[in-house]
Subunit: 84 residues, 2 copies
């Protein structure tokens, strides 16, 4: 059994998101006046070969803290989906 | 009323994900042998000031096609969340 971990890493709200601002301005220039803000983050899909849901969750959390996210500047959220 | 569009842009399965491979190898080197694959995409959160859910959905889809995703190489999915 395996789990697919769907991980979203976003900049903390207090951190200026330059890339997001650029996208927002590009959207404004394209005529999308109803779009107030845009923030850009990372999305990671990882397959975890693990029987146990709790253990898969622990691994997902650990790899976020150790490698995928910068805990000083970024938040992350994990969603586990069982596959086969 | 406004909607928060949570947009995930991922490389199509047939496209080689070099960044994902690098992350997977880094995880292997850190001792995570149960992680089979990792693929990296983008995550975008945009606030759409729109009364109508259908219209907000249409705008979300349009900005993905026009700006946020490259339809030749990437897939996208949109999740709308009502805010205030």
């Amino acid at each position: 059994m395996a789990y697919k971990a769907k991980i979203r890493v976003t900049l903390r709200p207090s951190i200026l998101d330059v890339q997001g601002k650029a996208v927002q301005h590009a959207l404004e220039n394209l005529g999308y006046s109803t779009i107030d803000s845009a923030r850009i983050g990372k999305y990671i899909e990882a397959t975890i070969n693990e029987e146990d849901h709790v253990e898969a969750e622990r691994i997902g959390d650990e790899i976020c803290r150790k490698l995928l996210a910068n805990p000083v500047m970024e938040d992350y959220s994990i969603e586990l989906e069982k596959i086969n």
